[in-house]
Structure formats: structure tokens, C-alpha cells
Amino acid sequence: MMCKSKKKKDSKHETNFMNSSSAFPDEVLERVLSMVKSRKDRSSVSLVCKEWYNAERWSRKNVFIGNCYSVTPEILTRRFPNIRSVTLKGKPRFSDFNLVPANWGADIHPWLVVFAEKYPFLEELKLKRMFVTDESLEFLAFSFPNFKALSLLSCDGFSTDGLAAVATYCKNLTELDIQENGIDDKNGNWLSCFPESFTSLEVLNFANLNNDVNFDALEKLVGRCKSLKTLKVNKSITLEQLQRLLVRAPQLCELGTGSFSQELTCQQHSELKRAFNNCKSLHTLSGLWVASTQYLEVLYPACTNLTFLNFSYAPLDSEDLSKLLVHCPNLRRLWVVDTVEDKGLEAVGTYCPLLEELRVFPADPFDEGVAHGVTESGFIAVSEGCRKLHYVLYFCRQMTNAAVATVVQNCPDFTHFRLCIMTPGQPDYLTDEPMDEAFGAVVKNCTKLQRLAVSGSLTDLTFEYIGRHAKNLETLSVAFAGSSDWGMQCVLYGCPKLRKLEIRDSPFGNAALFSGLGKYESMRSLWMSDCKVTMNGCRFVAQERPRLNVEVINEEGGDDSRAERVYIYRSVAGPRRDAPPFVLTL
């Protein structure tokens, strides 16, 4: 150790053991730091000193980019030379609801071109809300010989031809996860493109696609991929075919079934039940689609170890759900359609005491008055039985302040609270008052709250509460709410950890916008659409904060002074060079 001699020379300096000629070689430092997995920790590590910054950048293997326009691929590859896994998110979240016009951007291709040169050993790519073409997928398949895992969520621009290229040329593929994309589903032939010699698949999810795949090819693929852990098939797969797949892959941990509604003989029925019985490792179940009651019981033997049940595509009624949940005591996460109604949610409260996450989706969001759905009583029932609940997404047509207050008293550990009362601006249906107290109760009781989505009739008081109490809040979604600029100001001044703020159809204008000037650079992004912000207001922000990109999307023929859709985000990449004509960068 060289420390001793150094100390004699520089006895006045107390921190000399930290200098560059210390006996802690870079290689060792890199090795140690490679064990640091968390992104936040790695960020902290890189800020300690130059040596640690370098050791961290050389040892980093995965990178997460929450906004693809916040950095360029050149800057990324310059800092991190050894990346094996990239996660990229593109369009603003409101693009899911058609609030972002098509051809907005977030094209993966320029990234792939740079990666092909700088990261030839790239193994994993996870994309969300990116634009991906078939050409890009082909390019990917040819450029990265070690490529292993591809995950596409809410992306668009590609067709099944692109998938065929991936299946054909990615010899080491372990994961192909295609979820909820705007995909041009031409046919099911892509699945037959996996070569006969190909055996490495561990995750296959094509539940998103409609067309029939060649079942023979699928069966053989499943049979020869002994490490297959996740298999989510599409609607075209029948119960009989499912049974044959399960027989070949009893080691599955996650299963997405096909349509659950074929006519089965007694023998087929018992064979199916036996097949499920043999799947001892199953912890996640999804699919079902058109589920016939009489076949749900074949699932029962597999239910004991289930921790995640995704029935968001299976419109079950309360009775079917109850009968099933009796067998699922270990459930941690449950996604259902509101056809299960309050009675179904009562069953959840009764049979699933370990539940941590509940999502209730609307069967019929646009047709008011016809569907029943769930109400405040179902919400209360779940909170009474499931005290460990920390994530909720709840679509309903009526709610009361008192009910929400009860729920958060029962379950104070919420980290994600997303309540969507489906009629905009709807008050407490019993008292006719705004829903301010409901969300006030949420932020007062749930000190760990990270994500909040509000709805119903809300005044500035809601935002005062949020600003005063929600000190851990990172993401806030607002629609048809607030009375004045003051509301938004409360949030901007009061929530130190705020990273993402998305607002639509609320009366916040330039004054509110300006009050966040000191904050936007510490956030990922701000979205405001159909508010009261003007072009001049946006120009002012752009002027004052050159390190922010201030983008306005204006429909043609609109008022030139109003800024209809504003997207503000921090970036080291400078203004976009690929912006389409309807995106104005100020």
C-alpha cells in the first residue's frame, strides 16, 4: 500500500488517500462498481470524483433513457462504451389517447445506426412508444449477432414482416415480447421463421396479434425450447391447442392463454385440467379473451401459486371471478374488467388478503348509463380485505369523498393512486361537492405516494393539498381540473420530487407555466394540452431556459396565439432535428 509514504509527504492533506495514485486500481474499482445495479446509485457513484465517474461509465452494462430526445445516441455511446442493454421511451404518454398526431417522431432507426457501430455486442432492446419500421427490425437482426431480447410496448410503424426478420436472423434470441403495438398484422407466417435449430427462446409474447400462426410450427418451437418460461399466445389458439402446448412446456412460469371457449369433449376437458395441474411453476396467468364459464375450472389446479392474474381482456362476471379467486390465496396483482362489478370486488377483498395491486378497466368507457361497472362500494370492499394494497388503477362512474377517505385509511401504503371517474368534472354523487377532500385524504394519508392521477370535479384546493402533503410525488396526471393558475403553482412549488407532470383541459395559463421555470430542468417533462398557455408564454420559457426543449403542437387553422399542446422537456441534445412540420420548437 502506498498510502504510508504519501501520508508522510502530505500530512497536511487529510484526504490524500483519495488521490489518483492510491492503491485501489481502476480494475478493482470497476469490478466493485459493476455490482451496483440501481440507476440512482450509479448516478450518485458517477458524481463522487473523476476516477469513479470513469469506472462507472466503463462498467455500466444497461442504460435507461426515459425520453429519447433528452440525449443523442452519439452522446450516449461516447459516455458509456460497454452497453449491452438499452431501454428507450419515446412519445409522451398522452399519445396513447391520440393526443399526439401520427408521425410525431421517436424513430428508433438513428439509434440503431449508431449502436451498430458502437455497441456491436448489444443484447437487449426495450422500447416503449417508439416508432419502429420493418427496415429497422431487419437492420437490428443483421447488425447485432449476440442479440437476445426484444421488447416492444405501445410502439408502431412495423408489421409482422419485421418480426419475421427477427425470428429468422437472431440466432441467440431469448426474448420476443410484442405488447399492445400499432402493428400491421399481415399474417402469422413470422412464427414459422424460427429455424429448426433454434432452441434458446425463454420469453414469447404474441398475444397482441390477431392472425392465425402455424400451430404445428408453434408446437415444435415450444417443444424444443426447453428454457421457455413465458408463453403468451393469441386469440387464435384454441383450448385443444393450448393443452398440447402445456404438455410440451410444463415448466412455464407465465402463461397467456388463447380463446377459452371451444367446445370440448369430456376427455379433452380432463386432459386440459391435467395439463394445468402439471404446471407447477405457473405464477402469472393472462389471456382468456372470450372465456366460457364452464372452462374456468380447469384453471383451478394452477391457481394456488398464482401471484399475478391479468384478466383485463376477459370480461368475467362477479360469480365467475369469485369462484376462481377462492383458489388464489397468494394473489399479489389482479387486473380485471369492471364487468365483475362490486360483488366481484367483494370477493377480491375476501379471498386475496395479500393483494398489492388492483387495476379495474372499463368494459364500456364511452357508453354512459348502460353499463354498471364498479362503484365506491367495491373500492371500499377491496380496501377492507386487502390492507397491503399499494397500487390502484380504478375506472368508475361514481365516487364519493367519504369512500376515498375510507379506502386510504384502510390502506395507507399507496405508492400509486390512479382514480378515473369517467365523466369529466363529476362531483361527489352523494353530496354534490367537488372531489377535493378525496384527494386531500389520499395525499395526507399516503406519505409514500409516488404517482397520482386525479379526476372528477376539482378546484384549486386539491392542488393545495397536493403541494402541501405529497412530498414524494413523482408523477401527476390532471384532466378537467383546477380553477386558476394557483392550482398548478401549488404543485410546482410544493412537490420537490416531481418528475413528470401531464395536464389537459385545465385552466392553467402563463403565470402557472412561469412558476415552474426553476423546476423544469429537474423534471423529465411537462405536458399541457388545451390549457390557457399562449405561444408568447412558451417563447418566454424557451428564452429563459435554453437547456429545455419547448415544443408546441398546433393543429392547422387554430388560433396562432394559443399554444394548444405544449411539451417541455430537458435535453442535452439540443432542439430536435427530426421534428415534423406541426411540431414547433421555440
Partner: protein
């Protein structure tokens, strides 16, 4: 503001649109017209309680509630299911132009337009141009049309399959050159 995340879904374009290049524009417009078609209209209990009164009610409810396209597709399935009480059949009448006696076909036995067209070609022993193909020399070929809930006759294949199922009343196979 809620969304449907990480769920399975059916694709957003199992039907027509130009086969050359996946057209984002078309899809976006289709979804907008779908939203409007579904009669999105605001009906708050008391308009004055709406904190922010927009002068254009249509735009107010545009893209609301925050459920995305895949959910829309699922809803149609659910609607259909509720409507037919978990039955596994949806029989519709099918006529071919020039033949007075019609047939009946169970639409739920098929998962997409290709399956349907194939079955009909078989049933009627004719060539029915699939929704995606370009009619070339079409004087002796047929195309498939349907009557929707509003009584209009429409070309089969323009809307997603599940939406078609919920709006179709009956089918007609007509000569390609009469469309």
C-alpha cells in the same frame, strides 16, 4: 389520467388500409372517427360545476376517458358478449347477388376477415376478393358487403374485426364491378 398498460391486445389494423406501408395517419383518423361515432358527448350533472368551460364540447371529450385503442377493441368484444349472453354463435344471413335463397353463417367461428372470406368462398363457390387486395380485372369476381346497424351497406374490411362483429346485421356478396 389512466391508461391500459402492459396488457394484451388485439392489433389495431387487422383490416384494410393500404398494404404497401403501414399508415399511421389513417389509423389515427380512424380512431378519431370511431371516438366520434361512439357518440362521445359530455353530459355532466351540472355544467356550471365544470371548472373549465370550453366553448367546443366535442373537443372537450376528445380522447376521454383515457383508455387507448386496444381497450376500445376489447370493449366491442364485451359489448357483443353481454349482448348475446355468452353465446358462442352469431348467425347472420348471407345473400349472393342474383340468388334469391340465402345462407346463414356463424361469424364467431372466425377470428378475422380472411377466415370469413375463405369460408364464404367455399360456401358460395366463388372468388371473393379479400379486403386487402386490389381488384384488377374484376368483372367476374365478387366482393363482400354488409348492412350495418344504421341500415347502410358498407364494404367489409374497413374497420377492425371486433367492431365489425358488433355492427354487422347481414352480409351480401355482390359483383365487384357494381361497387
Amino acid at each position: 389520467m389512466e391508461t391500459l398498460e402492459q396488457t394484451q391486445s388485439s392489433s389495431s389494423s387487422s383490416s384494410s388500409i393500404d398494404s404497401n406501408k403501414y399508415s399511421n395517419c389513417c389509423r389515427n383518423r380512424t380512431d378519431l372517427s370511431t371516438d366520434l361515432k361512439l357518440g362521445l358527448s359530455i353530459s355532466p350533472s351540472s355544467p356550471s360545476q365544470l371548472p373549465f368551460n370550453s366553448t367546443t364540447p366535442r373537443e372537450e371529450t376528445f380522447a376521454w376517458p383515457p383508455v387507448n385503442k386496444s381497450v376500445l377493441r376489447r370493449n366491442i368484444i364485451v359489448e357483443k358478449q353481454n349482448h348475446i349472453h355468452h353465446q358462442r354463435s352469431l348467425f347472420v344471413k348471407v345473400y349472393m347477388e342474383g340468388i334469391p335463397i340465402g345462407r346463414k353463417l356463424n361469424l364467431l367461428e372466425h377470428h378475422n376477415y380472411d377466415g370469413l372470406v375463405q369460408a364464404l368462398c367455399h360456401m358460395f363457390k366463388t372468388i371473393i376478393l379479400s379486403p386487402n387486395s386490389q381488384p384488377l380485372n374484376s368483372w367476374n369476381f365478387h366482393v363482400l358487403t354488409y348492412e350495418d346497424q344504421e341500415g347502410d351497406w358498407m364494404m367489409v374490411g374497413d374497420v377492425p374485426w371486433e367492431m365489425f362483429l358488433s355492427s354487422v346485421k347481414r352480409l351480401k356478396i355482390t359483383r365487384a364491378n357494381s361497387c
